[in-house]
Amino acid sequence: MTLDGDWVRNATSRMDLTPRIEGRLAYTTDQRHLPGLLHGAILRSAHAHARITGVDISRAREMPGVHAVVSAADVPGPNRFGIVIRDQPVFCDERVRYEGDSIAAVAADTPEQALAALDVIEVGYQPLPVVSDAALAEQQVALHNSHEEHGGSNLLARETLERGDLEDAFSRCTVIVEHHYQTPRQMHAFMETEGGVAIPDDNGGVLFRVGCQSGHRDAEQLADILGLAHDQVTVESTATGGAFGGKDELTVQPAAGLLALKTGRPVMIHLDRFESCRTGIKRHPVTVKMTTGCDAAGRLLAHKVEAVLDTGAYASLGPAVLENYLDHATAPLYRIEAYRVSGRLVYTNNGVCGAFRGFGGNQATFAVESQLDALAGKLGMEPSAFRQINLRSPGDAGSRDQTVRWTAPPAEVLAAAVASPLWRCHDAGTGRWLTGTGMAMGAQGNGLGDGLPDSGGGRISLSPAGHICVEFGFSDYGQNIVESIIQSVCNGVGCRETDVEVALGNSRGPDSGPTSASRSSVLVHGVLARILPGWMNLVRGHAAGLSGHPEDRLVFGPGGLYFNDHQVLSYRELAASVNLDELSASASQDFPVAPDAEQPVGRYLQLQIATVARVAVDRLTGRVRVTDLHHVTAAGRVIYPPGYLGQIEGAAVMGQGMALTEDMTTRDGCYLADNLDQYLIPTFHDAPVQRVDVLDSTPEDDPFPIRGVGELGIEAVAPAITAAIEMATGVRIRRLPVDPGDLLVGMAAQEQAL
């Protein structure tokens, strides 16, 4: 089926989305009405790498309007944070490792007073050599002193996945291709830049209202930093203007919390776009050499991968990104006899990289799919025919010999892509614009990945107003998870949408784990499947006592419970009749992982996508227009069509940006772009016509019929675009974003060769 406008219109619910569309939805950083609110600002490093010889905040304390100035000496707990490794200082006092490093922070009556105070903080620097080339980072001065954690080198992590006898497999190959690929340091470019407010309570604790992705995890880190008991810190992740992984890590919270405790007043810190660009997390740039071989019939035999990922100054989620990169580099959709897939994650002074939609997977897929096209070309085969030979079947184990649950046979996904009408468009071989169509496939596993703690819970109850109140710890950052939860509850209970109330993102509520890794929908469905039967029995039992009707004949319906098609009790009446705690239920579950592997492999619930791209390339300039994208997705049952469509289309445009224009390049560790007039994301005029098809053959009794699609749409876009460019011009681009100049030179060389 194709998710078209009718699907979206029919799925329209009671939620008023107009404020979101018109930009009127109030975000956390719009909360400027709080009594006594102070404005915070953070002093950033003036160097990409330097030793700090002194920090003098005395003058700043005397500046007009200033209420507090804090630096490393004011951090009561560990002066460190980080999701995987706590290696990032809240405030640097010995050394700065990137130009976004924090050194001190100020709270003042007005933002300009805070900025003025920052200007008089004196910091002594002794510049150090900048580690800017990831390929050479391991031979340069170590950015972190900890030998225990990093072995005294800039190598943060290395990992190798192996299968079979690689040398033997290569020796039997008829065709071998070897290429280098490079992907960019992409920026999330969310609408709402990082920010939030820290509000001290009367008991020495702090409430954070921030844009974030994991309130519970953040609360733990913040309590440690602030020297507070964990129950003294609360995080409310209120409606956030986009995240995409860029708010998974702590951003302004430590500084805001310290200032709030110091002043006893709420402190708002909201980065402007310049500061966001300079300090925010980015996508890991990857350089990789791939060597892949097949026999004369096109069967993949051998695959070797050597990748270097630049994580920047601090680890953040880099080790997990490396793991996901390598998993995707094993080519999960295809049978390969032997592989050795290895990667190195290195520290540099190039900003900080971490979580970003796709999480390393799409960088790997770009290279893998390009390799397949190269092999097909060498054999004179159609790329789709080459893929057909090597695609896994539903009964096959995964690329790492783990059990895999597909939601449709990969061959059907490929067949649907091959049948795309985009292939029937006429390719113009002459004239100014050269057109071409290309395709790529991708697989993506839901969940945090191998061996990481991954569980989540939720709670259901009746609210005093008579709503079915569902609580999860997830954040709403634009994906509109609220509506998908409402749909799931309505489907499970039989109530109407207006009966359901959803509460999200409070660290005092259920811990659902991070809102990332395309895991929310899976967990919402799983947790509701556990909670609802028991909770409905509980409510029915109570209603039977109140109404006198037999419990097994009471039916949930719109507005209340029914007996013989007549409502006998409203949810409001039920709520008023009982201690509400007695009518609540909660549950949690571990995220499903492959059950039979020796080591837990997270890529159990697998999704697939095949993206067909159509492009027009300007023969004069090398400029590329993506005119159409057709996605064939296999990602389980669609419970909320607008959300599904929005995720796939939105992610695809993000992938298009990565393919064509977006790269936060650095020179000597400093970003060359500082705002969105220099860092260029696609506009509406760049967005192609898109079509999203859904294939789903998940059995009715499948325990995991709902999958998360937050990242799937970005998976195959870049290689589909470069394949289409090759079809149009004969030039294959292996470095992203596509440089029109490089493409033009390649096209000119081809013209001269004719």
Binding site: R32, L620, R625, L660, T661, D677, L680, P682, F684, H685
Partner: protein, 271 residues
């Protein structure tokens, strides 16, 4: 919006009563002029340094706003916004390709504020076409008022010069090719904008963008002397002239060469 940017320290905006007073203020206070403000705002936000004083220009001053048809061609007031220029009926009569070009200049919000004068002064997208058209500018300077060729003013413009209007020749029967190369479809910094103009007798070529604005007089001379010869030779001449103008990126020069070759073919084909 209450944010760090808008809560900057106050800027003194002087509002002179006449163009002459504006020139005087600019000179006396060493203050820049402000019209649409679309260049000033991002530059100042980036550097976190705002001018202490600005001299605001008034579109009600005679000659500063609108498009007028004269015997000699079109006079476009310097404070005419890009959007007004794009919508003006005379634009599509005299300069049909300009409407399409303007649609690719920045975004609607910027075009509603940005002015013709501001765009020309910054070497923006209009520069290439204006240079190729041999536009004349009416400038109020410290020493007086007068018209002069835009190409000359670009070379010897003095601080404090106030642009009142641009005069374009009657080009209704001319043939044009104007093309912008950006990084994306809309709201992109200009990599290069090229203009080819054929007035029935003579070809004129100009560029603006990353390498700067200028007329390709050497190439024009070659075309005048020898006609459109083998493209290889033409490309070599264009490439050399672009490099001499300051266009350092070889790949971009290649793109500009091809755009100009294409444009020349277009305007020559119709000739």
């Amino acid at each position: 919006m209450n944010n760090l940017v808008t809560e900057r320290l106050a800027v003194r905006v002087m509002r002179p009563e006449s163009p002459r007073q504006a020139v005087s203020f600019a000179k006396r206070f060493r203050a820049p002029y402000i019209a649409g403000g679309t260049w000033l705002q991002p530059a100042c936000e980036r550097d976190r340094q705002w001018p202490v004083q600005l001299v605001a220009l008034n579109p009600d001053w005679p000659g500063f706003l609108g498009v007028q048809e004269t015997d000699g061609g079109l006079i476009i007031g310097a404070l005419t916004t890009l959007d007004e220029l794009a919508r003006h009926p005379l634009t599509s009569v005299y300069l049909p390709p300009l409407v399409g070009l303007l649609n690719r200049v920045a975004g609607p919000g910027v075009r509603n504020l940005g002015t013709v004068g501001g765009n020309l002064l910054a070497g923006g997208d209009l520069s290439a076409l204006a240079l190729a058209l041999d536009a004349e500018v009416d400038v109020l300077a410290g020493k007086g008022t007068g018209g002069r060729p835009l190409v000359q003013w670009c070379l010897d413009r003095a601080a404090g010069d106030l642009l009142r209007s641009v005069t374009l020749p009657d080009c209704r029967d001319w043939r044009f090719f104007v093309e912008k190369l950006g990084y994306r479809e809309r709201f992109s910094p200009t990599r290069a904008t090229v203009a080819c103009v054929h007035n029935g007798q003579q070809l004129r070529l100009a560029v603006c963008g990353e390498g700067g604005a200028g007329r390709l007089v050497v190439t024009e001379a070659m075309l005048r002397d020898q006609g459109v010869r083998e493209l290889g030779d033409l490309a070599t001449v264009i490439d050399s002239e672009l490099e001499a103008l300051g266009w350092q990126c070889t790949q971009l020069r290649l793109a500009v060469c091809r755009m100009l070759e294409f444009g020349l073919a277009e305007v020559s084909l119709e000739a």
